[in-house]
């Protein structure tokens, strides 16, 4: 649905996006992660035909960026970084204006549908400026959906929202995912990306990695098993290091942190070895690295 081939954006001497190549599949939620100033918003603006591409080429829903811009704007929905609502106008008028500009056939019906879906129907006649941040964000999401776009670009949809509002927005994105829409999600919220995204790309002017969150954890840190023992000593760790599939063993307090390639297959023998060496195993679990750990590691190394 979204294809980019070495797209580059340069503002004078500043290189904002460097040779970005990626493919986002239909129905996928793609997380685009990166620090402030990494070029995420610039990328969204290029892909939604708001700004031009300096070098490279891109296609969105089969339409070529730079040549079929109006078709792209008809096809995609964009939630910009800031809601950008007309604060003096009512929620309903805000949506009606955009429904008309998006060439929606049943303006009244679509406006009503999304106002109700996002819980804003009762406040439809109130000026958008009187809304809370969460309500404004919901209204902006409704605006992006009025024309039933196949592809949605969401730029920091939960930024500056309180936990409750963030939760509601995330739930709504999950609903959109179920509907089979393709979602390009720019976010700082790594927990959000972990929960919602099928794949994520970590980006800092250039694409650092692109994979599923699980694969990223594995490729960055390997898989780690934590074994809690009644007592721990260096000989138990040494015994494990003799096993060919054990990549690393660390002693942390009364625990052994063991890096394995395939814990599901290798755990039984590894535990047997420990028990045979006299260890009293209290508890065993997997040490899960958050996507945040992965992200910080990648950005630090970039």
């Amino acid at each position: 649905m979204i294809h980019t081939d070495k797209i580059t954006k340069q503002f004078g001497k500043v290189l904002a996006v460097d040779s970005l190549s990626l493919d986002v599949r239909e129905g996928e939620v793609f997380g685009f992660l990166g620090p402030n100033g990494a070029g995420k918003t610039t990328t969204v603006r290029m892909l939604t035909s708001l700004i031009g591409i300096t070098r490279g080429s891109a296609a969105v829903a089969g339409f070529e960026v730079g040549r079929q811009d109006t078709d792209i704007r008809r096809t995609v929905g964009v939630l910009t970084e800031t809601p950008g609502l007309y604060d003096n106008l009512s929620a309903e008028i805000n949506l009606r204006i955009f429904a008309e500009l998006q060439e929606v056939k049943d303006v009244k019906g679509q406006v009503e549908k999304y106002l109700k879906m996002l819980g804003l129907w009762e406040r439809r006649l109130d000026a958008a400026g009187t809304f809370s941040k969460g309500m404004k964000q919901k209204l902006a999401i409704a605006r992006a959906l009025l024309h039933e776009p196949r592809i949605l670009f969401l730029d920091e949809p939960t930024a500056a929202l309180d936990p409750e509002a963030s939760h509601l927005v995330r739930e709504f994105i999950a609903e959109l995912k179920k509907e089979g829409r393709t979602i390009f999600l720019c976010t700082h919220n790594l927990d959000e990306a972990d929960r919602l995204c099928d794949r994520v790309g970590v980006f800092k002017t250039r694409l650092l990695v692109l994979d599923t969150p699980a694969n990223l954890r594995k490729s960055t840190f390997g898989r780690k098993v934590v074994v809690h023992l009644r007592t721990v000593n260096e000989s138990l760790a040494g015994g494990l290091r003799q096993l060919p599939y054990v990549r690393e063993v660390k002693i942390v307090e009364s625990k052994l942190v063991i890096t394995l390639d395939d814990p599901e297959r290798q755990n039984p023998e590894m535990i047997r070895t420990l028990v045979n060496a006299g260890a009293e195993v209290v508890f065993i679990g997997e040490l899960r690295h958050s996507l945040e750990d992965v992200y910080l590691q990648l950005v630090k190394n970039a």
Partner: protein, 266 residues
């Protein structure tokens, strides 16, 4: 066309919530109509209509040229003095759009509503045409309204159809119904150009008002006797305005660079 209509409606819904804009659209035209009417009323007493017909000996050449020979010298004086205020009806279409169009693009920049708007399939032509018309239409209607008040008022004050037909002759109609809208369009395109380049609505409004300077210069030029707004000057002005309007609208669409507007926000 539908999108242009939507933009006009949106602009009006927003802009007419601003009391200052409403005040400008209503009060300024009323004031501009009241000034010449007051002068006409005053002259009714101070310059009595003499029986003496217009002659180039009794009046300066420029003054006499404005009046047919059937008019008395006193009435011709009235025609000449009221003629001085014709330019007031050209100030209205220049002054009103500044308040509306100055806010147009830069206002959207400051509220960050321009990016979602540009993400829709609207073309630059549709967007700018909508914004232009949203500012031009109220200005032109206000000008016509002011002229209507002036015409009715003049008819009541003068009670002299022959004099009235001279005061409200082709020059006035041309000035109000042709030059007025053309000036309004020029003012709006200029305001849009300014609005596309600055980041503060107040700065946009103030710079946009620069366009009123040549009109004011015309007003003072006429008062000081440098020239008289006759049919020829008004016709030439209309043609020049038409050319300028086309050039300025073209430039406005060129200046309105989606990319630089979005990326140079501060």
């Amino acid at each position: 066309m539908d999108k242009i209509r939507t933009i006009i409606r949106k602009e009006w819904l927003e802009v007419f919530q601003n009391k200052l804009v409403i005040f400008t659209v209503i009060f300024l035209p009323l004031m501009m109509a009241a000034i010449p009417l007051g002068i006409l009323y005053g002259m009714k007493e101070t310059i009595p209509a003499s029986a003496q017909a217009v002659s180039s000996e009794a009046l300066p050449k420029e003054m006499a040229a404005l009046c047919p020979s059937t008019l008395s010298t006193g009435d011709c004086m009235k025609v000449f003095i009221v003629n001085e205020f014709m330019i007031l009806f050209m100030i209205i279409p220049v002054a009103i759009p500044g308040a509306i169009a100055g806010y147009s693009v830069v206002g959207e920049k400051t509220t960050r509503s321009l990016e979602p708007l540009l993400a829709t399939p609207i073309t630059t032509f549709e967007l700018l045409t909508g914004k232009c018309l949203a500012a031009v239409i109220p200005a032109v209607l206000a000008t016509f309204g002011a002229f209507g008040i002036f015409a009715v008022g003049a008819a009541l004050i003068l009670a002299n159809p022959a004099l009235l037909s001279v005061i409200l002759d082709f020059r006035w109609l041309l000035a109000v119904f042709a030059v007025g809208p053309l000036l309004a369009f020029l003012a709006v395109t200029f305001a849009l150009m300014v609005s596309s380049r600055v980041n503060d609505p107040r700065v946009a409004e103030q710079i946009s008002m620069v366009i009123i300077v040549p009109v004011m210069a015309g007003f003072f030029g006429q008062i000081s006797g440098l020239f008289i707004l006759n049919k020829e000057i008004i016709l030439v002005t209309a043609v020049v305005m038409l050319v300028l309007d086309v050039v300025m609208f073209y430039l406005a669409t060129k200046v309105f660079q989606r990319e630089s507007i979005l990326t140079r926000w501060r």
